[in-house]
Every structure is written in structure tokens, then in C-alpha cells.
Amino acid sequence: MDRYQFEDLVSDYIENNISMSQRKQVEAYLEENPEAKQKVESVKQVMASMKSMPGVSTSAGFMNNLNKRIAAEKEASSVVKTARSFTGYTPLMASLSAVVVVAVIMLGFEFMPEGSSQATLSPTMAEQQLDDLPEMPAQTQDNMLAESEDDSTEYDSDVPVKSNFNDRIQLVGDKRP
């Protein structure tokens, strides 16, 4: 054991928090080093002196001052509460009012008469209205497509349309009339 190992174990040795083998090592070191033994005794004295230091008490006016601070704290918190409800709405009241307003609006939509607004057309109602329409024969639908002047297929063709701009563009120096 060297000096540093010994110093690391001083408190554990004094407080008896080391294993038996470590204790034997420390005691062997102390036998060989009288100044280390002196150090252990000094540390013990320091610990005892600190334990015996007189306790320090608060002053006589301590509780009175604490009472005053608590009273001030209570007053301050009541002022904050008053300030919060200055307009007549505490956070709780405001939340409850908001809930009531939303509930009234939702009930209003629920009881609104049918057909008064497109927004009230539910999917079920829309399906019912489609069922009410007179059924068109399939033949008529095909004819309507065939008679249409605009054929969308011609725009979907992959073959690029070649346009002749010769008659429309006249370059500088072009003698054509």
C-alpha cells in the first residue's frame, strides 16, 4: 500500500466501512508509518470537533418575519386571482362558456331543416335523390358519347402533331410575299 491508497481509505477505516483484508493492509501501513498514524488521529479529531460544534438557531424574530412573508404571499396570490377575474371571466368560467357556445352551435346544425343548405346534404340523402331520378337506357348513353363533337382520344395520341408554320412565319430577308 502506498500513501495515496492509504489516504483514499482513511475515512472508510475510521468509520469501519472496509473489508477485513483492507483493514489489515491499512494497519500494516500505519505500523510502518507513524506520521500516517498521526494523520488518522488528526482526522478523527476534526470529525469530533465538527460534531461538537454548537448548533446555530434562528433569531427571535424569525417566525414573525416568516408570518409576514406568508401573509404577503397570500395577499399577492389573492390579487392575482382578482386580476384574473377582473372582466368577470375566470379561466374556469371562460372554458365553461366556450363549451356551452360550441354545444349550442352543434345543436343548431343538428335541428336545421333539410334542404335549407347544401352543407346539410348527407351522403344517405344524396343517394336517395339519385335513386329518385328516372333511369336512362344504356343505349342512349352510348349514343350521347358517339355524337359528341369533341373526341378526347385525339388529344391522348402519342404521335406528335406536326405543324407547318411556313405560311405563318416570315424570317428577316425572306422574299416571299
Partner: protein, 206 residues
């Protein structure tokens, strides 16, 4: 056993009421959280001198220590809901006190204004000798205490906290570990180093 709740609900209790309770600290803080202010009074009575001793040994200034104890107990009053019953009450209150004391020391270090009114009462008495003569034994004891107090002030803050909690407040290593929020091994090592440093500082005195 007294019914704290019924007593507290009758009227706002005076903080000067001192009565004997057999509740644990944890039971008292639970009652205080439920609105029983008499439980707060009991906690104040149990801890004010312990905290005073801890903070005074830490900051070495009597007036400042008393202010910090008041701040700690005000925090207990205003932040009572922050306490959760997963740690001992003493751990929680010492943590608050230690943090406030460290903040004060850092602030003091920044401003570093020294005048007579900011000194601890021992220093004031040292500067202004008492009119009443002290007996030999008392003077010796007073002088020894002053030497130890001065040696404690020379310790780095992280050594100072743990050695005061261990050797003056006599808390367990486990509780100190929770208060300062460092591992148990580190706490043991710091306490050992602090003791060796104190022994070195007080070598000439002895």
C-alpha cells in the same frame, strides 16, 4: 394523535403555535398539501434550526443564513405541490436549502462587496471585541469553532456541502448522495478528501 385537518379548517392558524406532533415529516407534508397549514408550522419548527446550522456553516454569514432559511421555508410554502412522496422530506428540503445557498455564494463571489454588516457574527465579534470578558474555556472553545469554521470556508463548494451534511448534520451517505445528486462513491470520496483538507488546514492550530 391530534386531528390536524379539523383544527386547520376552523381558522387560519397562527404560525407561532408550537405543539407536539407524532407525525412523520412525510405525513406532515402530505397534510400540508391537502391544505392543513398547522402541518406546515410543525415542519418549520422541526427544520428551521437544522437548516440554519447547515446554511450558516455553508455561507458563514448569520443574517444571510437566516434570510436563506426563510427563502427555503417560503419555497416549501409556495411549492408544496412539487414534493412527491418518492424521496424523504428531509432530502427535498436540504436540496432546496443547498441550492439557494450555492446560488447566494456564487452571487456574492460575482459582486464581492465586503463590509462589516455582511460578516458572520463571529467575525463581527472578532472585529469588535465583546465588552464582557470570556472565561478561558469558553474563549478556547469559541476560538476553536472559529478556526474550524474558517477552514470549512476554504473548502471548494462541492467538498463543503458534503462534509457539513455528514459531519455536522450527521446525515447518511445515501441521503447526501440524493441531496447533492451525485453517486454514492463520489460522495464518499469527496467527504474523505474534505476531511483530509480540513486536517491539513487545522494542523498548525492543533
Amino acid at each position: 394523535m391530534m386531528n390536524l385537518s379539523s383544527r386547520a379548517s376552523s381558522s387560519i392558524p397562527s404560525l407561532n403555535m408550537v405543539e407536539d406532533f407524532s407525525y412523520t415529516d412525510e405525513e406532515l407534508i402530505a397534510r400540508f398539501q391537502e391544505g392543513d397549514e398547522q402541518a406546515y408550522v410543525e415542519l418549520v419548527n422541526r427544520y428551521r434550526d437544522r437548516l440554519m446550522s447547515f446554511i450558516y456553516r455553508f455561507v458563514n454569514d448569520m443574517e444571510k443564513a437566516e434570510d436563506l432559511v426563510q427563502d427555503t421555508l417560503m419555497k416549501l410554502y409556495t411549492h408544496r405541490s412539487y414534493y412527491r412522496n418518492i424521496a424523504k422530506f428531509s432530502t427535498w428540503i436540504y436540496t432546496i436549502a443547498g441550492n439557494l445557498a450555492k446560488t447566494e455564494l456564487r452571487r456574492k463571489k460575482r459582486h464581492k462587496v465586503t463590509n462589516l454588516s455582511q460578516m458572520g457574527f463571529e467575525e463581527q465579534e472578532y472585529q469588535l471585541p465583546s465588552v464582557e470578558p470570556e472565561t478561558g474555556e469558553t474563549a478556547q472553545s469559541h476560538y476553536a469553532e472559529k478556526q474550524i469554521q474558517n477552514a470549512i470556508q476554504e473548502l471548494p463548494l462541492h467538498f463543503r456541502t458534503v462534509v457539513i451534511l455528514r459531519d455536522i448534520q450527521e446525515l447518511s451517505y445515501e441521503e447526501i448522495s440524493k441531496i447533492v445528486d451525485v453517486p454514492l462513491g463520489t460522495v464518499k470520496s469527496r467527504i474523505n478528501r474534505a476531511r483530509l483538507q480540513l486536517q491539513h488546514s487545522l494542523k498548525d492550530f492543533r
